[in-house]
Amino acid sequence: MRIFPLGESALTVEFGNEISLELNRRSISLAAFLSANPFHGMVEAVPAYSSVTVFYDPLKVLRPHPQSSSSFAAVETMIREIVNRIEDTEINGRRIIEIPIHINEDSSPDMEAVCEFGGLDSKSVVDLFLGRNYRVYMLGFLPGFAYMGEVDERIAAPRLKTPRTKVPAGSVGIAGLQTGIYPLESPGGWNIIGRTDLKMFDAGSGEPCLLRPGDEVKFFAY
């Protein structure tokens, strides 16, 4: 584990530098623990693939730690102590979210490219894609954009050489072993193989994003 500053108002706890279920569980567990038990001056804890970034107000952190040389040192000490103490388990109950997708010519413009990548016909690609559940490792890139994995190696087509300027909202894409859903229309370079009508992001809702880190996603075609 490595802890490094991200400016003077945040630090990152890096458990590793790879996409792994175990490291991601540790990251989400630590972020959940901190969110439920924030220290004085903490702003938020943000989990990623294999790290957690903790944002804090350095002007507030030192108050309960007058002996610390800096706010960074105080937060680092607290985090090391917490990491040793907490159970390495998912704190949130694991949610399974079902997401219906269309797979047809209009909503799957890169089906051919994925077929070509794996030397498969489109039915095999769809079967492989729908044949397993995917973990939401983290959210980023766009509001509510979930980075999920891992897809079968045979359909793990690399990003497009030239990203599209417009990918419609709801598009389901593959980029290497990752899969994701574009919550909003945006430029993007993932291989689009389907589209959902579900609103992945709805600013007007009390919970604007459908998915959270640690969720499990089950796609089905209709």
Partner: protein, 314 residues
């Protein structure tokens, strides 16, 4: 009882101290690019320092006050004029009903701020009034202001006019040296690249906006080019792109990134950076975390001093 937007300007948005607590959903904090300017003009009016303000670029908007209200301008000096009378930057003034405020020419800086006494009446989204254009939420309709918009006042009042003293006024410069803290991959810079990073100047290119400033200069490289998985980044993170050039992430940055993080600009110096535009330049100086924390505390002390001064002067 509103501020009427007669002309919108090229990129005019409502911003405050930023939206925290939603980064884990991919929702970035937004907020004013120059937080110090936002705080200073709010304090001139007796507002909370993070109250929502209007952030403008040049050409800026034109606004009509539909009620008597004090206002203040600061940040970039865009030549504010109220009904034909010049309003000094970093000062508050009283607008009467029907008065029109416009901005005539750019003297310095790139982002100007307009605050009104009592603040604007803007519904909060996830705890902030800032406009998040990517999400299409916050501010007015989640978008930049348009001609014809009316921005309500929370509690329009007129108060004694104030002007920021010269010691408190930020000094902008088109080629500042900003202080940075080493980032996660700083130690992986080659010796020559470390020297380049800390001694050379870098140009702010045309591909620079509220999301980030792309810099151009002598290329920089790392000893080790291991692939990284995405992790959180923040306002001020300096990322190294595959072509050896850098991007500094600004207020509308994405929440996560997968490029090497060379350094982070310290919060106290982000306003200097935020006032740059294409064609300007920047250099970097490395400081310790302790020094960055000290500088942040000193800025807070200055603001506190101003807060008290304004209170006793009103």
């Amino acid at each position: 009882m509103s501020l009427f937007v007669q002309k919108a300007g090229i990129l005019t948005t409502i911003q405050d101290g930023g939206r925290t607590g939603s980064r884990s959903l991919g929702i970035n904090p937004s907020g004013a690019m120059d937080r110090t300017a936002m705080s200073l003009i709010n304090l001139l009016l007796g507002n909370n320092e993070n109250e929502a303000v209007i952030e403008m670029h040049f050409p800026a908007g034109e606004f009509v006050f539909e009620v008597d209200c004090s206002f203040a301008v600061g940040g970039a000096d865009l030549g504010a004029v109220l009904n034909g009378i010049e309003i000094a930057n970093w000062s508050s003034a009283i607008a009467r009903r029907g008065d029109s405020l416009r901005f005539t020419d750019r003297q310095n800086g790139n982002r100007a701020y307009l605050a009104v006494a009592g603040g604007f009446s803007i519904p909060e989204w996830l705890g902030s009034k800032s406009t998040n254009i990517a999400a299409g939420a916050g501010g007015i309709g989640g978008r930049r202001l348009q001609a014809g918009d009316r921005i309500g006042f929370l509690n329009p009042i007129t108060c004694k006019t104030q002007r920021l003293g010269p010691t408190m006024t930020p000094k902008y410069n088109r080629f500042p040296t900003v202080r940075v803290i080493a980032g996660a991959e700083f130690d992986e810079l080659t010796a020559i690249s470390e020297r380049t990073f800390l001694r050379e100047g870098f140009k702010v290119t045309n591909e620079s906006n509220r999301m980030g400033f792309r810099l151009s200069g002598m290329p920089i490289s790392l000893l080790d080019t291991n692939r990284m998985v995405s992790a959180a980044v923040t306002f001020g993170t300096i990322q190294l792109l595959p072509d050896g050039q850098m991007i500094v992430l600004m207020a509308d940055h994405q929440t996560a990134g997968g490029y090497p993080r060379i350094a982070n600009v310290i919060s106290a110096d982000l306003p200097l950076l935020a006032q740059l535009g294409p064609g300007d330049g920047v250099g970097f100086r490395l400081v310790s975390i302790d020094e960055a924390e000290f500088l942040l505390a000193r800025r807070e002390k200055d603001l506190q001093f101003l807060r008290l001064g304004i209170r006793f002067n009103v």
